[in-house]
């Protein structure tokens, strides 16, 4: 039984009159790739945004805040040879829902320990590819020289030229740059919200290979939202099937084979 990266308990979030996310208990295992699946409006992206604590805007939303617990456990050993010393490896568990925005900023869990790639990448358009990657590094006081070296290495890994302007990037390149930026601080946990949506076959293959290469590190936890059967077959080790804001089935691929087959049969 592998260690848990996230432990969710009594999670409840009412967003408007039509939707409520309600998860009594759920575990996301450490060092595995977990795929969040489900029909539209089942709560996949909502759950992912809560795991990354990026659910709210600048102002507190008029909807009531989520209740319950989402406990994040930093890994005992951080992944990768170039691990960020601030990645929190070996630190104690923390209840993410118990932290307000100011404490989240101070704790620097986001970015350092939990990387996030959004469906709409949220790239910084007035900066080139390299600046997009190294901004979070320089803000943390890492020297421009070290940050640039790290940025160049990540862009080489993702196959992007450092001086490319964001406006000139294709859909696949934007996704890869977003992934490079999320990896800048070498977080042990990666949350990917529909990273393969809207990509042409060659861009899709490139990004799949890139994510597959990240999975090679057995200490890295990846949680991704996808609708595509190919991604589940190729990437998933653990599956969470959501429906109407609740968990219909969760477990390792073998354990959820029947509900998964039923879901994929209905949504080929």
């Amino acid at each position: 039984m592998s260690r848990a990266a996230f432990e969710i308990a009594e999670l409840r979030w009412e967003i408007g009159p039509d939707f409520r996310l309600e998860i009594p208990a759920l575990t996301i295992p450490e060092g595995k790739t977990t795929v969040l699946l489900g029909p539209s409006a089942s709560g996949k992206s909502t759950l992912l945004s809560l795991l990354g604590r990026v659910e709210s805007g600048y102002f507190r939303a008029p909807a009531p805040a989520p209740t319950g617990r989402i406990v994040y456990r930093p890994p005992e050993i951080a992944p990768g040879p170039a691990s960020n010393p601030a990645s929190g490896a070996g630190a104690g568990p923390v209840d993410l829902l118990g932290l307000d925005e100011a404490r989240l900023l101070a704790a620097r869990l986001r970015g350092d320990q939990i990387g996030f790639v959004f469906q709409r990448e949220g790239l910084f358009p007035d900066r080139d590819a390299l600046q997009n990657v190294i901004w979070p590094l320089t803000v943390r006081g890492i020297s421009a020289r070290d940050a640039t070296a790290r940025g160049h290495a990540l862009l080489a890994q993702t196959g992007l030229a450092p001086d490319r302007r964001v406006a000139t990037l294709s859909g696949g390149e934007r996704k890869r740059l977003a992934l490079a930026r999320a990896l800048a601080l070498d977080p042990p946990t990666l949350l990917l919200d529909e990273p393969f949506t809207g990509l042409d076959p060659s861009a899709l293959d490139g990004l799949r290979e890139l994510i597959a290469s990240l999975r090679a590190d057995s200490r890295r936890t990846i949680v991704l939202v996808t609708h595509q059967r190919g991604d589940i077959e190729r990437l998933a080790e653990h599956v969470v099937l959501l429906r109407a804001g609740g968990v219909e089935a969760a477990g390792d691929l073998d354990a959820v084979r029947e509900p998964l087959a039923h879901y994929l049969g209905a949504n080929p």
């Binding site: 102002f59 990448e121 949220g122 901004w135 999320a182 800048a184």
Partner: protein, 251 residues
């Protein structure tokens, strides 16, 4: 009625939150970001403000001279123009132009940051939006409004001098001497205190409207328009309130 009061209170709290968070983040923000924003928000408006102030100075001098001539006091044109420019007109029309330029700029720029998901991406990287984006913009807008008001005073006086010389036959040196002699430190304090307050108002409203959650480009446009209209309206209202307090305080 209670709905309007509740909405007013909600908006007041939201604006206060933006300002409070920016002030807290300001000591940790970078001076280079402030200078960058000062150039974008204020220096870019300098030609516009100077030309507008030049013509405003000329118009005020012309209108004032027409009225004063009726009472045989046309020699007081420079005195009246300089005091009204410094205490009232330069701060107010600079603020109105800044509400249109900087207010709209802040609301649309930060609005795009929210709409395109950059704000969410910044949170995901633990980048402090207040430190990185809001605080430098608010500081630049306040300092920029102050500097532009000073520039408007100078070019407004110059406009009055040109008009006085060309239309009223006054010597430029005589006009400027009278204009400067008519001004007391309290006049400058009145104008500059107001310009700082207006800058704060425009920046806070622009940032608040920009940082609102928005679903589409239509909302971005509406929030930008709201920033300009609200800031312009509040500049005029607060001008009266500030003038009342400043007159009671320093004369």
């Amino acid at each position: 009625m209670s709905g309007a009061i509740s909405s007013f209170g909600h908006e007041g709290r939201a604006h206060g939150l933006v300002l409070w968070r920016a002030l807290r983040a300001l000591p940790r923000s970078r001076f280079g970001d402030f200078l960058d924003q000062l150039g974008r928000l204020a220096l870019s408006a300098l030609p516009l403000i100077c030309v507008a102030a030049l013509f405003a100075g000329m118009v005020i001098a012309l209108q004032t001279s027409l009225q004063l001539t009726r009472f045989g006091s046309s020699h007081l044109v420079a005195d009246v123009v300089s005091v009204s420019l410094v205490r009232e007109l330069a701060p107010v029309f600079t603020a109105l132009l800044m509400a249109g330029k900087a207010g709209a700029g802040l609301a649309s720029e930060l609005g795009m940051v929210v709409l395109s998901g950059q704000a969410q991406a910044m949170r995901a990287l633990s980048l402090n939006i207040d430190r990185e984006l809001v605080a430098p913009r608010i500081a630049a807008c306040v300092v920029g409004t102050l500097l532009l008001t000073m520039a408007a005073i100078l070019t407004g006086l110059l406009g009055g001098m040109v008009l006085g010389s060309a239309k009223l036959g006054l010597s430029p040196v005589h006009y400027m001497n009278r204009a400067v002699d008519a001004l007391a430190p309290a006049d400058f304090a009145c104008g500059l205190i107001k310009s700082v307050a207006f800058g704060l108002l425009i920046a806070t409203i622009g940032c608040r409207e920009g940082l609102r959650d928005k679903a589409d480009a239509g909302e971005l446009g509406r929030h930008t328009m709201t920033a300009v209209v609200t800031a312009s309206f509040l500049v005029l209202i607060s001008d009266h309130v500030l003038t009342t307090f400043i007159v009671a305080w320093i004369g």
